[in-house]
Symmetry: C2
Subunit: 345 residues, 2 copies
Amino acid sequence: LDAKALGEAWDRQKRMTKPAGSLGMLEIISAQLCGLSRKCPPPIPEPACVAIFAGDHGVHAQGVTPWPQEVTAQMVGNFLAGGAVVNAFAAQVGAEVCVVDVGVAADLPSPVQQGRTTGLLPRKVRPGTADMTTGPAMSREEALRALEIGIETARDLVAAGNKLIITGDMGIANTTPAAALISVFTGTDPADVTGRGTGIDDETHARKVDVIRRALELHKPDPGDPVGVLAAVGGLEHAALAGLMLGAASLRTPVILDGVIAGAAALAAKAIAPEVLAACIAGHRSAEPGHKAALAKLGLRPMIDLDLRLGEGTGALLALPVVQSAARAMHDVATFDSAGVTEKR
Amino acid sequence: LDAKALGEAWDRQKRMTKPAGSLGMLEIISAQLCGLSRKCPPPIPEPACVAIFAGDHGVHAQGVTPWPQEVTAQMVGNFLAGGAVVNAFAAQVGAEVCVVDVGVAADLPSPVQQGRTTGLLPRKVRPGTADMTTGPAMSREEALRALEIGIETARDLVAAGNKLIITGDMGIANTTPAAALISVFTGTDPADVTGRGTGIDDETHARKVDVIRRALELHKPDPGDPVGVLAAVGGLEHAALAGLMLGAASLRTPVILDGVIAGAAALAAKAIAPEVLAACIAGHRSAEPGHKAALAKLGLRPMIDLDLRLGEGTGALLALPVVQSAARAMHDVATFDSAGVTEKR
């Protein structure tokens, strides 16, 4: 973050017609946007685009979720047809939606295959990861390729004019690699960071914790080697999201993080380059316990905290108007002098 | 709330392409909007307008704030000139702003007096309340008149096409009557519900608590007589905001409540007619301790919780896109059947 712009931000906020500090967390976000853009006031971050990275997971075979794997491909079709919650929220807050297939296992629905939809970026590294309980989820080369796809997606979205990027994800069973990643990067026991995902029962939850524990015992991933961790127990969308954050940060473009998948990816991105956090804003806190642990480790405070646990980018989209409002206040609000308002005695 | 529409809402949410319950608090808001409008899906609540009720307070003479009283009138001028934070946020989220003068003490700035601004509703009941430590803040008739102005404002805003109303307030020293009202309606000691307002020091805070304590000892207000409570220790904007909520509820129009001033007013409105809460959504939780007590008593969970303590309607405006997104999801999101997505096993 640029020190000069940060200083200007705090100085300007003192002169704006409001009691000092009265915008709470929004003053911190405003200052971050100034430091990131090197401008005070900062550009209002619009237009914005949510990038949904979709992938499948070999660990699905271990029975960690009651949802069939083909739902990943079906939901990609739903996103591209505009029928998912992420589409409704994006329409309401004025963001675009794009879907990046980094590793969907099943064939995409026929309207997508026939080119009757727009918004898909076909970037499949492999059709789903391998089962992390029997071997690495992917090779190191594949993890790097997914990271590169994320970086390239950030570059393409910024080149297309977007001033802010929102993370989204789709992948049946993807809270399992997310919990594994969070366990590794935060040094927390899998039992404490493994949640109910889409709403699993006690038996499935116990199995999910055991699956993660076995995978970690098998690979003994080293948090000092983030690419190795992603390859061993990560997912293609987790790796790509980490790349997206790195790419956006290098372009000084803010990124609003969605839930637990983005939180896991941000831990990996931070392990690769800690400076990435300068561009990251925590959009919301999901109901997943691992997300709380991830945000604490990242030192990020969520904008929205309403028990969402859907993914897709839905929680982060709700934070977009908050972030934009923080930036707009820096532009539009009069100073005590200019408005002829008396300051406190 | 309409039971049939509520039932339809919960049924529809189960069929939408998302894990059951995964939208958390937004599912509760969606259902409330269905029950309120008697329709499922509910109308998307736009356009929306924030109504800023402005008034002054005789208790200012007791030294409860370092801000001069004329700032109320100056800020009304700032709102009408578009230079305040509420204007910036309203512009960002797509809401209109109007200002209702129910009791500003000083003359309004000359551009306003000369009719060079639009958006002011001149409804002055009296130029500021009297000092509650020496007598009632206003007469019972004046409190009723302020309530009526709030009801009429709701009627006018709905007649003008607004589908949702946002509460706003301006009044130097108005956290003092708010804390007094909250103390009375929640049965909490003044020390526990009196905050720092715009950021006062320890000495002023101690004086503020003492002022409230003395006023309550003088009037011994009966929470069973809410109009009497408003007259004794309330403010004109608090009474008018209570009326706004009652008027909106009677028109089945949702109201997003801002911070501690709206919380105090909602307690008064609830004491007059408990059904008012069916129309109320807590937009945010402010940093004021009294607001937490008020929300707990009202049984409302805030949408936004980011340490804002500015008032004007700013916190509630940030919640508008969240509420609208909740409604839009009910409209736009496909069902498992229609989207060809497999349900969980």
